[in-house]
């Protein structure tokens, strides 16, 4: 053990000699390449003396002498100076590469030398110091202090000036005035600072390049000139930025944050403009590229910088206490003191609920009172809100006199008065006294001349008068709605007609003629007591008339007592097959499911028993046409009649009109008439279209036949 310590001692002495030599002759030394490799191990060795020095010095501050006299400390003490020397020596070698310069390096280097010296003294005179604890502690304290400062300077060299305290430093970016902004100070410097500053600003100068100011930037670095005024392509500053990321010479280093394309364009334009420093941007020609890019850059920066409020946040307890379902109080965002207050539900509103906001008066910047029954006195209170910026009074009962109070709101920028009783006079009065930027005055009794006058008088205010002149838009009215459920009835039927637009006048006919404004006027629900077609058309002043809507109503003469299906409906569409044909519900033509029966594979064949002998005159079959859904009129409908159910007589073969590609989807009433004949039973057979016509996208596939109702007269 002792021998080992002695060997260490001698090596340490030799290392000390070499170190002193390096310090004294550093100016004259020229390093071979492999020494550079040794020098670069500095960043590894430096951790040893930090740990060892702190350890062996701090045990002196321990009260327990038993621990202090452990033999391990002797070993560590012998190693610590060697480690310190190794670090300092490699550090000197690294410094000799001259790739870094600046004040920080200076301090780091010479503090390092001082640290080695005092550490050497301390350990060589340890025998002398061994029974002078207080002195040892004092010297130890100095060493610890030196270690901390030197190490911090070294870290600054590697990581940049703001590395350690960066996370807790508040970066206050001063407000930029576009008129005063200077090329370097306000535009280029902040960009270079964020992207290059870590290695080339403050006290750090990697590659001997400092971007601190115009002098150092023009001087350039180890690799030569950085800037060539007016020639960006020849300037290394731009060249390095544009090299491929993988290139070793690309800057900033690949793993560091890279400048954006816009920032590069800005730097390029700056160099091409001759790299001005103290020139104000506005002094440059207005079509100058650099000026334009710099202005864009500054405007974006101003816009993106967070708003600073002149007041502190309100008490969170007060906010939560005053916040409820009809009075919403919220900060604009996290850590923002400004509050937005919205009232909802006019029934629960009262002046008291507004005044209760007193504790928050400093913080309210937006107030939303649309549709609330506010009084003049409320505006009095509102006008005392010192920081109110946005106020919404849409559809409130405020008038000219009341809004004059708002002139006291010096911070108010945006005011909405849509749908209120104010007039041009009141608006003009308010605008003369206030600094409003935006005013919303739609749905207010203003003549076009008032608007022109206001715009002329207050050109700096953004007056939003909204959509006017709806009278000039001539649109057709919607179709009226014939609101009857059934289309078939036995005795009589009440038919209401509706229109969605208030005041639309409805004219109708029942005689088959086309209605116009001289036809019967609809005033109350119609009572229909015979078969016929109702046609309705809507009219209104200022609108074009609607399309004619028509609906057929059918009176059923005879009740069907029994329905017997000989060929059933398709299993997909045969719900309620026993009753659906006689429920007097013609069915919704857009919903095929429950009120309709569908046939495709086989004909529809059905026998109706009327219970007694009648005189048959006609049959009406309510079918569906919907070509897109493959639903077509049948090819033919055959009708037989019988009195006893055994002897059948064919009465008629009816061929409906064919559907074409332009046929609109909807119900299609097939009316089959006869020369009157006595029957008790009626048999019907309808044949679905076997193949869709050639114009159809699915030509050749079988068609469907849909039926919802059969009426026998």
């Amino acid at each position: 053990m002792k021998k080992f310590i002695t060997v260490i001692h001698y090596i340490t002495l030799a290392a000390l000699g070499f170190f002193v030599f390096l310090v004294c002759f550093s100016e004259k030394v020229v390093l071979p390449a492999w020494w550079q490799v040794v020098g670069r191990t500095h960043v590894m060795w430096l951790h040893f003396p930090i740990v060892l020095l702190l350890l062996v010095i701090l045990i002196d501050w321990l009260p327990d002498t038993a621990i202090r006299s452990l033999p391990i400390w002797q070993l560590l003490r012998s190693l610590v100076l060697l480690a310190t020397l190794l670090t300092a020596t490699t550090g000197m070698l690294l410094q000799l590469e001259h790739s870094v310069s600046g004040q920080t390096l200076f301090y780091h280097q010479w503090l390092g030398v001082a640290l080695v010296s005092i550490t050497a003294l301390y350990f060589f005179s340890y025998t002398y110091l061994s029974d002078r604890l207080q002195l040892r502690r004092a010297v130890g304290g100095v060493i610890v202090l030196l270690v901390i400062i030197t190490a911090h300077k070294g870290a600054t060299l590697t990581h940049g000036d703001d590395f350690l305290l960066g996370p807790i430093q508040k970066i206050a970016s001063p407000a930029v005035d576009l008129q005063q902004a200077q090329a370097w100070h306000d535009v280029i410097y902040p960009v270079l600072k964020t992207k290059c500053g870590e290695c080339h600003m403050g006290s750090v100068q990697k590659g001997n390049l400092s971007m601190n100011d115009s002098a150092t930037l023009w001087r350039g670095g180890k690799e030569g000139k950085t800037l060539v005024a007016g020639n960006s392509t020849a300037s290394q500053l731009l060249q390095r930025l544009l090299l491929p990321l993988a290139d070793k010479k690309h800057m900033p280093e690949a793993e560091k944050p890279q400048p954006t394309a816009k920032e590069i364009a800005l730097i390029k334009a700056w160099i091409d403009a001759g790299a001005p420093f103290s020139q104000r941007i506005v002094e440059r020609n207005s079509n100058d590229t650099f000026r334009q890019l710099a202005m864009q850059h500054l405007e974006l920066k101003i816009k993106q910088s967070p708003v600073v409020y002149a007041f502190s946040a309100a008490d969170p307890d007060a906010i939560l206490r005053l916040h409820d379902n009809y009075r919403i109080i919220k900060p604009l965002g996290k850590d923002i003191p400004a509050l937005s207050v919205s009232f909802f539900g006019s029934n629960g509103f009262s002046s008291e609920r507004l005044k209760e906001l007193k504790p928050l008066e400093q913080q309210i910047t937006a107030l939303h009172l649309a549709k609330m029954p506010i009084q003049s006195a409320d505006l009095e209170w509102i006008s005392g809100l010192p920081h109110l910026q946005r106020l919404n009074l849409n559809y409130t009962p405020v008038d000219d006199a009341a809004i004059q109070r708002l002139a006291q709101l010096t911070s108010l920028q945006s005011l909405s008065l849509t749908g209120t009783r104010v007039t041009a006079k009141g608006i003009s009065g308010l605008l003369q006294k206030s600094k409003l930027q935006q005013l919303f005055i739609w749905d207010i009794d203003l003549a076009p001349s008032d608007i022109t006058q206001l715009r002329k008088q207050f050109p700096h205010v953004d007056l939003e008068t909204g959509f006017r002149g709806g009278d000039s838009i001539r649109l057709p009215l919607n179709e009226p709605l014939i609101a009857a459920q059934e289309g078939i009835f036995t005795d009589q039927l009440t038919v209401p007609i509706k229109h969605v637009i208030n005041g639309a006048e409805l004219y109708y006919t029942l005689d088959g003629s086309i209605p116009d404004s001289s036809s019967l006027r609809y005033t109350k629900p119609l009572t229909i007591n015979s078969s016929g077609t109702l046609r309705v058309k809507a009219y209104k002043q200022g609108w074009l008339p609607s399309q004619v809507v028509s609906r057929s109503f059918l009176q059923a003469g005879f009740r069907i007592m029994k329905t017997e299906w000989q060929l059933p409906a398709d299993e997909k569409y045969r719900e309620n097959a026993a009753t659906v044909l006689q429920d007097f519900d013609v069915g919704d033509p857009t919903d095929f499911s429950t009120k309709w029966l569908g046939f495709q594979k086989n004909d529809a064949q059905v026998v109706f028993d009327l219970g007694k002998e009648i005189e048959l005159k006609s049959i009406a079959v309510n079918s569906l046409t919907h070509t897109a859904a493959h639903i077509f009129p049948p090819v033919f409908v055959k009708v037989w009649g019988s009195i006893d159910g055994k002897n059948w007589r064919q009465l008629q073969t009816f061929t409906p009109a064919k559907a074409s590609s332009t046929t609109t989807p909807g119900a299609n009433l097939l009316k089959i008439a006869f020369t009157p004949v006595k029957v008790r039973l009626v048999k019907l057979q309808a044949h679905p279209l076997p193949a869709l016509p050639a114009w159809h996208t699915s030509k050749g596939l079988p068609g469907w036949f849909f039926v919802s109702e059969v009426v026998i007269n």
Binding site: I328, G333, F344, G345, N392, E464, F467, P476
Partner: protein, 483 residues
């Protein structure tokens, strides 16, 4: 005391026990500093900051006019005159460059280019090109920002739509509206934060379904509430016939008293949630009919949106309703208009579809603007992908179709902090690939969240051991389109 013990045992489950144990006793003190709510109840400050934007927002609300089925960009807002000149010529394979095709055109032997049936003109200060299908939108181009360089990953409706809405093609993730509800909460607690309105045009349609407005793994209060066009816009909200408000109030008070007892006995937070949800439904019973009532709308408004705005279930009516909901503090109003899937009959079907949406879409922007609401309301208009520059099926002088195309399409946005009068991005002369400023669906989502004051990387929810976000692992904010 007994209640506190119960609280403790109910809320201290095995997972919590294990996860806390693993922190280790020694580091627990430090850990509690880094995980603020680990060992204590919510403080006043935290209750206040829940549902606040991460930073000051540009937009407070969103109205999303989703054009379901994917309207062709080539007949609407992306003007490509070269396609007319090259009508009928085959799309060069070098342009298609391996783009996968849907099953509908994969077997086509040729891909004949087809130009727009409709003419284009430039409008406004921005000089944006708009086709003759949209005469009203053309009048407001200076209020809107066209993004012509959208692109997506999916080539079929369901995955593309799901991707747009939830950030993933597979479904079951929360919809954008749910994320916004989760991030910002409700502005008016008498209405849902996320409402859904459906309408259908006459064109070839594609389905929409409730998975598009699902809350996914988020709490069910963030689910989209679908308004239907019938008598009861929100199902189960109306009192049964014969029940008056007072009886309802009494009944709720009695139930609340019972629930309160239950809460004191077992301390289950779900019971507390139930009480507050009954109360919200009660408040909605007054708030919703007020909003649905269009009888007080001035006639100018009806002319502006078109008379169909009074016919429930139409796009025009939904636009008007969207304005009313938004005006009353609904965070996210999601419209879907179906019928934009023009594989064939494109010229005639698109005319009908455009008739449905042109006037109301433009009216909505104007209406929000005149009420001072446009600068805090973001309006989005667009489909789930684009359509091919070549014809699907038979091509005649006045009839052709276009297949799905994910590589480029156009959407537009207005208000809410989006730069007005701007055309962003560019496609090549054949309208097949993007040549400038591409915007991926995740970029779009990140930008929308940013406008609402939400950082898309911070708006996360931990579910099954992983933190999820709307933009998954992607998304860059499109800063250039923000004011």
């Amino acid at each position: 005391m007994q209640k506190e013990l119960l609280d403790y045992s109910l809320q201290f489950n095995r997972r919590k026990f294990l996860s806390r144990l693993s922190i280790g006793l020694g580091s627990a003190a430090l850990g509690s500093l880094l995980i603020p709510d680990l060992f204590r109840d919510q403080t006043v400050e935290e209750a206040l900051s829940a549902g606040l934007p991460h930073f000051a927002p540009k937009a407070k609300r969103v109205i999303y006019l989703f054009q379901n089925g994917a309207p062709s960009q080539l007949e609407t807002f992306d003007h490509k005159p070269l396609l007319r000149k090259m009508m009928g010529q085959d799309l060069p394979a070098s342009i298609r460059n391996g783009q996968r095709l849907t099953g509908m055109t994969a077997n086509q032997t040729s891909f004949p280019l087809v130009g727009s049936y409709y003419d284009f003109k430039q409008y406004g200060q921005s000089g944006a090109w708009v086709s003759e299908l949209f005469p009203h939108i053309a009048q407001i181009t200076d209020d809107i920002c066209f993004v012509r360089s959208m692109h997506t990953e999916a080539i079929n409706h369901d995955p593309a739509l799901t991707f747009f809405q939830s950030g993933a093609q597979q479904g079951n993730r929360p919809s954008m509206g749910s994320w916004v509800s989760y991030g910002l909460g409700t502005e008016n607690s008498n209405l849902p934060a996320f409402c859904v309105l459906l309408s259908r045009g006459k064109g070839n349609g594609q389905g929409v379904y409730s998975k598009l407005w699902t809350n996914g793994f988020l709490d069910s209060v963030h689910q989209g509430v679908q308004f239907s066009s019938g008598e009861n816009p929100i199902l189960y909200l109306q009192d049964p016939a014969g029940l008056d408000r007072l009886s309802r109030r009494k009944m709720l008070d009695q139930i609340a008293a019972l629930n309160e007892m239950e809460l004191n006995r077992f301390g289950d937070p779900e019971t507390a949630a139930k009480i507050s949800q009954y109360e919200m439904a009660y408040r909605m019973q007054t708030a919703v009919p007020e909003i649905m009532d269009t009888s007080k709308e001035p006639e100018d408004i009806i002319r502006m949106y078109g008379p169909d705005c009074l016919v429930p279930g139409t796009f025009a009516a939904n636009c008007l309703l969207a304005r009313k909901l938004s005006e009353n503090g609904v965070r996210f109003v999601q419209l879907y208009h179906q019928g934009w899937d023009q594989h064939g009959n494109l010229p005639s079907e698109m005319r009908g579809q455009a008739m449905d949406v042109d006037r109301p879409s433009a009216a909505l922007i104007t209406d929000l603007k005149q009420r001072g609401l446009l600068d805090e309301t973001l309006v989005i208009w667009g489909g789930e992908f684009g359509r091919t520059n070549y014809c699907q099926g038979k091509m005649t002088a006045d009839n052709y179709g276009r297949d799905h195309h994910p590589r480029c399409f156009t959407i537009w946005m207005a208000g809410g902090g989006v730069r007005p009068g701007m055309v962003y991005g560019e496609t090549d002369e054949l309208g097949y690939n993007i040549v400038k400023d591409p915007v991926h669906v995740h970029d779009f989502q990140a930008t929308v969240l940013h406008l609402l004051g939400l950082d898309h990387e911070k708006l996360t929810y931990k579910f099954q051991g992983r933190r999820y976000r709307l933009t998954d692992l992607y998304g860059n904010i499109v800063k250039d389109i923000i004011t």
